[in-house]
């Protein structure tokens, strides 16, 4: 039997298909204009990768910013719970998650059962989110995928002091105009996001080990700086972007299993 989890984020839609043997497939697409159609497309692609038909999926759960707009899932859960469940399944030892997504960043503290003990989220703006990095990548004309690697080539960061995305962009442009090295500015941008998120995560009390998830966890400079700042090595799931969707799929499975009156099987 198969189960699906869809994480309809602000920037990307992620789908994970879970089979009896673990993750059968996953797929990530840009949200674009979003909506039901785009989420269905993402699900179809994931089904194709798993070589199954959609009718073989017993239950679909949805999470993420866009979950309210989707009609086809059988259940909806917040991204906080889903990241907790997803990370706990892959890395059961993890007690704190730093998740940086497209428009939200979160600190989530888990207990030994993977249940959320405490969480905190960014304020109501794009500071300290993936969108912040995207804006800076555009200003510096660096593809997002290369952002982190380029930043790590710099030895000294150029300080970016504005937390506001718009003001920070202006600051970055003025650094470019003053002839500062691109990679050093990139490192400064990463440092700025880390400073902000680390402070937020500390407010919930950091318990090691710490894992990082979300699209921004694919930026090696942010991961390295975050580890330095928290004074801990950070664990990374093999695919950090899909832990929310994975958590949703696990909860879809749990839904069916509990209906069949079976014992919970969320861990392992």
């Amino acid at each position: 039997m198969y189960y699906a989890g869809i994480d309809a984020g602000s920037n990307t839609i992620k789908t994970v298909i879970l089979g009896e043997e673990g993750i059968a497939s996953y797929h990530v697409i840009k949200t674009g204009l979003g909506g039901e159609e785009q989420a269905a497309r993402c699900l179809e692609e994931a089904c194709a990768k798993a070589r199954i038909g959609r009718e073989e999926i017993a239950c679909i759960y949805c999470t993420g910013y866009g979950r309210e707009y989707l009609n086809f899932p059988q259940g909806r859960k917040s991204e906080i719970i889903c990241h907790g469940v997803g990370v706990h399944w892959i890395l059961p030892e993890v007690r704190t998650i730093v998740d940086i997504g497209g428009q939200d960043s979160k600190g989530i503290r888990l207990n030994e059962r993977g249940e959320v003990e405490n969480f905190n989220m960014n304020d109501k703006c794009a500071a300290g989110t993936g969108r912040f990095l995207e804006t800076m990548a555009t200003a510096l004309q660096v593809p997002l995928e290369e952002f982190g690697a380029c930043a790590l080539r710099a030895t000294e960061p150029v300080r970016v002091s504005s937390t506001c995305t718009v003001f920070a962009e202006t600051e970055v442009i003025s650094h470019i105009a003053r002839g500062k090295k691109r990679d050093e500015i990139l490192l400064g941008v990463c440092q700025s996001i880390v400073d902000r998120i680390a402070a937020m995560v500390r407010s919930i009390g950091v318990k090691p080990p710490v894992a990082m998830t979300g699209g921004v966890a694919k930026n090696p400079a942010v991961v390295k700086l975050m580890g330095d700042r928290l004074g801990l090595p950070l664990l990374l799931p093999p695919e950090p972007q899909i832990t929310g969707a994975l958590g949703a799929a696990l909860m879809a499975r749990q839904d069916i299993l509990s209906r069949q009156n079976s014992q919970p099987a969320l861990s392992g």
Binding site: Y65, S78, I80, I81, D104, V116, E117, M121, Q254
Partner: protein, 376 residues
């Protein structure tokens, strides 16, 4: 209209209500700043207490008058005056609480003419042994000023009437709040918000009558919604109906509040004493304190916790009005205090308009953490 619907109607048509009241009675309408204004005296003088509240809409009129770092409630309130929405007011009165509010009052006084304005220096050090003897003198001066303005004495019989009507209102509000204690609660937090907030600007006789009728309606009610998690709302002037509606649409019911637009306004009655003015002024010195007045002993925290226990709240949403220093000082300590006593909290920062989408994500996640047992 069913009695319960009246409160919602008044809430959304407060200006029409006040204009109609004025036309019907020929009385004066006095705008009040802060729940520390002794509404008993205004009622005794035959005037309508009309609380100045914001409208929770974006506005662009206050920038020239008060700083952008003044709390959004102050800016929203002043905007209502500058936009002429309170142009029926005959006077305004402020009971001192915080500096943002006093300067909002000053700006109103300077730019929006009314016949009568009064600054009532309510002491912040309410725990001082001399607070009561000081404040009764100030309340006497306030009474004299109203008499001079109205050209008419406020008699002992008038004061008795003022005290009786306001105390009755407090008793009736307590009575209807009892329906929030039941499982499932017979009254939603949104309904309670309409009910408690309108007490601040509807004639007490009418409000009392509606409360009596509504209590009977609610008593007979069968609750057809899943109440979900029982929450407490802690804040200041957070009468954001849309927020309460959102919270109650995602699997929760707000069963009790500790905020100015709620219990802090009506919680204690005036204790009847031989001296009528002492009866009135002591009531405000003794009431559940605003953080501006809760010093040096912290009396607010045990009061909040007791409310949470009495109404069986499973968690609390701490609604932090942005830039409200007195509450910003309290909230980290209050959060810890509640959590140490078994009440998990979610802190949210409120502006005059709020991002309901991101707030919903946080509230849903908070509710899920309170329901963790169901998940596994």
């Amino acid at each position: 209209m069913a009695a319960l619907e009246k409160f919602e109607h008044w809430y959304h048509n407060r200006h029409e209500y006040a204009r109609e009241w004025k036309k019907r009675t020929g009385g004066k309408v006095i705008g009040t700043f802060c729940t520390y204004v002794p509404d008993e005296i205004l009622t005794a003088a035959g005037m309508l207490h009309s609380r100045i509240l914001g409208s929770h809409e974006p506005q662009d009129v206050t920038e020239p008058h008060i700083f952008g770092m003044f709390c959004p409630f102050c800016r929203d309130s002043l905007a209502q005056g500058l936009k002429g929405r309170f142009n029926y007011l005959d006077g305004i009165v402020l009971a001192h609480s915080c500096i943002h509010y006093r300067q909002t009052f000053d700006s109103w006084r300077a730019h929006i003419p009314t016949e009568f304005t009064y600054y009532l220096p309510m002491p912040n050090m309410v725990q001082s042994p001399s607070a009561k003897s000081y404040y009764v003198g100030e309340v006497a001066k306030f009474k004299a000023a109203l008499e001079e303005y109205a050209g008419k004495k406020i008699t002992d019989a008038d004061l008795d009437r003022g005290i009786e009507l306001t105390n009755k209102n407090r008793r009736l509000l307590h009575k209807i709040y009892e329906f929030r204690k039941t499982d499932p609660p017979k009254l939603t937090g949104t309904e309670a918000l309409y009910i408690a907030t309108t007490a601040q600007f509807v004639d007490y006789e009418e409000h009392n009558k509606a409360l009596e009728e509504a209590s009977e309606e609610v008593a007979d009610r069968t609750v057809d919604r899943d109440p979900g998690i029982r929450l407490m709302a802690v804040g200041s002037e957070n009468d954001d109906v849309e927020f309460f509606k959102m919270v109650e649409s995602v699997g929760a019911t707000v069963v009790i509040d500790e905020q100015c637009a709620g219990t802090r306004y009506f919680w204690n009655e005036a204790r009847i004493q031989p001296d009528r003015l002492q009866t009135i002024s002591d009531r405000y010195v003794e009431r559940p304190p605003c953080p501006t007045k809760d010093y040096p002993e912290r009396q607010r925290f045990p009061h909040v916790l007791q409310l949470a226990k009495d109404y069986k709240a499973q968690g609390a949403i701490i609604m932090q009005e942005k830039f409200c220093d007195p509450h910003e000082g309290d909230n980290p300590v209050l959060k810890k205090y509640l959590e140490d006593n078994g009440i998990p909290t979610l802190g949210l920062e409120f502006d005059s308009t709020n991002p309901l989408g991101p707030f919903r994500i946080r509230v849903e996640a908070f509710l899920e953490t309170l329901r963790t047992d169901d998940l596994f």
